[in-house]
């Protein structure tokens, strides 16, 4: 079911707010993975404010939905959501990346309530998610396991090992999402190590494949709801996104994988984000 107008406006406002908080956190950190955090922000907004069945009063709740951030380098993109949802103290964000902080560049599940897996080395999240999904079936639990991968991450063989195993073991309760922002550290995905035909690859590995504009909240929500209808196939949602989405001056620039900025730059970037969301609301998507 598509988002109502009210829901759309609320979620869009939340996405804007979170993009602002991500930029603040990058600045407090003295530098962090900003590009891929902004490309994933709409996906995370829908997960954390609409679809994930989680409880900040009981982060270890056995029946909660699982979410694994396989592209673990965007801890700075996830921590603001965990803070805003009440899993961690919002003030902690100001210590991000600081010596001795519980919030490091790659988040540690044993230090961060609400985090289901410690990730950072790429290609690990989908196998872990598959384990969680199979455990749900083994234990008679109805929770879903969501996994957000980077597209460059899909160069890793372990992603495809897990994909093969997920369809073989009919993990219909597993939903992979790929933040397809087409950028890697050294350039565009297609220049560094071509992924296309990307959807065909997932299909060939036995996945139900959905493709969607990862910044269109309505389409994204629809895809997530389709993915939640359990069959005997795992689902992947390929989310076509823009690295640095929201900050016009850095959008689509792979060099903004990791960046640091001063308070003035942060202020300007936040203004760009506000304009971006304003425009998005006018276009109603």
């Amino acid at each position: 079911m598509s988002l109502s107008e009210k829901e759309f406006l609320e979620l869009d406002e939340k996405a804007k707010e979170m993009r602002h908080l991500i930029l603040d956190t990058v600045q407090w950190a003295g530098g962090a993975h900003v590009g891929g955090s902004l490309s994933a922000a709409d996906i995370l907004t829908l997960l954390y404010y609409k679809y994930l069945n989680i409880d900040s009063d009981n982060p270890g709740w056995e029946d909660r939905d699982r979410f694994v951030l396989s592209k673990g380098h965007i801890g700075v993109g996830l921590a603001p959501f965990l803070a805003d949802r009440g899993f961690i103290d919002r003030e902690l964000l100001k210590t991000y990346n600081h010596t001795g902080s519980s919030l490091g560049m790659h988040l540690d599940k044993n230090k961060v309530p609400g985090l289901d897996a410690s990730t950072g080395s790429l290609g690990h999240g989908l196998p872990i998610s598959l384990g969680m999904a199979l455990a749900a079936r083994q234990r008679g639990k109805g929770y879903k396991t969501w996994c957000l991968l980077g597209d460059g991450e899909c160069n890793e063989g372990s992603v495809w090992e897990a994909a093969m195993a997920a369809s073989h073991h009919k993990a219909g309760n597993l939903i992979a999402m790929v933040d397809r922002n087409r950028c890697m550290m050294d350039g565009s995905t297609e220049d560094v190590m071509a992924l296309e035909p990307f959807a065909d690859k997932w299909r060939a590995f036995g996945f139900k494949v959905l493709e969607v504009d990862g910044h269109d909240l309505r389409d994204l929500a629809e895809a997530m709801e389709t993915a939640m209808e359990e069959g005997d196939k795992p689902t992947v949602i390929i989310c076509h996104t823009v690295k640095g989405c929201g900050v016009e001056s850095i959008s689509g620039d792979y060099r903004y994988h990791y960046a640091s900025f001063d308070p003035e730059k942060t202020r300007l970037f936040k203004e760009e984000i506000s304009s971006y969301h304003q425009k998005r609301r006018e276009e109603n998507k």
Partner: protein, 335 residues
């Protein structure tokens, strides 16, 4: 050992891995959260025994070890107790990033039961030998590392691992091991070595397949040459039994370590670290694979070739017995 009734006769009729398979089946009978995972080695590692009674609890991940250990981590974080079996070389090297980051870093309750350790798959050559795993695995924080001496102690270790919260690595051999224990003799406790022979002339500290050889060598030397060697089964490499090592340094002033592993990084190194940090040195010799990729051959022949069969151990003992030490009057005060 809780509930298990294998006798020395059963153990001699089963390979070490088969005893493991039975022990795992027994654990699964009693604990719903036990599952098994393998990467197309259900038969070779004997984890496949689990499926005879519990077919829905054995997951074959195909020949894909990275995914194998990642899935196990996910299962453990969701409340299962996965036992994962593939060869030692693939556990400790092919999937090490997953073992490190997904299992040890997250301190998850995954039990890695690796078979074909050391040179036990002798004719397969260095692609399947594993003489580095103890060194690698003992540097993983949170991980317990166990190298049982025979089938009975393997079953004990596998059972004890269930009760030990957190990741555990247990290294087994391919095929049959000479029995060292029967059920009444083996008092297995993680982190606590077992003294198999008393002695004050020298201590032989061994793990895994070397334990039987150490005990045989000690018996031979006692009976034929009057040398009284203490023998310790140092089955747990981490956390190592510091007290037993320091006692050996103090009591016997001569130590030989024996392991089916590169002499760098394994049991010998672990013992040397304890000794060096104590400030009390003694005559010391490490036996094992001498930092080389092994020739191929039968396991027994390879151990003889590299000097850690019964004869090799005996020869090293005689050599070490020639070394004298000055008495140190302060010893008793400081221990």
């Amino acid at each position: 050992m809780a509930g298990l009734t294998y006798t020395i006769l059963d153990a001699t009729n089963m390979s070490t891995a088969e005893v493991y398979g039975k022990a795992l089946e027994h654990l699964a009978d009693n604990h719903d959260n036990v599952v098994g995972l393998t990467a197309d080695l259900a038969k070779s590692t004997k984890i496949g025994v689990l499926a005879e009674k519990h077919p829905d609890r054995l997951y074959n991940m195909g020949i894909a070890e990275q995914n194998l250990f990642g899935v196990a981590a996910g299962m453990a974080s969701a409340g299962l107790v996965p036992y994962v079996s593939t060869f030692a070389i693939f556990t400790s090297m092919r999937a090490l990033d997953q073992v490190h980051t997904d299992i040890c870093y997250q301190n998850l309750n995954v039990k890695m039961i690796a078979t074909h350790g050391g040179l036990s798959f002798g004719q397969a050559g260095s692609t399947h030998h594993c003489t580095e795993d103890i060194g690698i695995m003992r540097t993983m924080a949170n991980l317990t590392v166990v190298v049982p001496a025979d089938g009975i102690s393997a079953a004990e270790a596998v059972t004890a691992a269930y009760s030990k919260e957190g990741p555990v690595y247990i290294r087994l051999n391919r095929g049959y091991d000479q029995p060292v224990y029967d059920t009444s003799e083996c008092r297995f406790e993680i982190g606590k070595s077992i003294e198999l022979a008393e002695g004050s002339d020298l201590t032989i500290i061994a793990c895994g397949v070397a334990v039987y050889r150490a005990r045989e060598a000690a018996a031979f030397l006692r009976n034929s040459e009057g040398i009284h060697a203490r023998v310790l089964d140092m089955h747990t490499i981490k956390p190592i039994d510091r007290d037993a090592i320091l006692k050996a340094v103090h009591d016997t002033r001569r130590i030989i370590t024996v392991e089916d592993h590169n002499i760098i990084g394994g049991l010998g190194s672990a013992v040397a670290e304890v000794m060096a940090e104590s400030g009390k040195a003694c005559a010391f010799k490490r036996l094992g694979v001498p930092d080389t990729f092994s020739i191929i051959g039968l396991h027994e022949d390879l151990m003889a070739h590299y000097g850690y069969d019964v004869n090799g151990i005996a020869a090293a003992v005689r050599e070490l017995m020639k070394m004298d030490f000055e008495e140190d009057d302060d010893w008793d005060d400081e221990l």
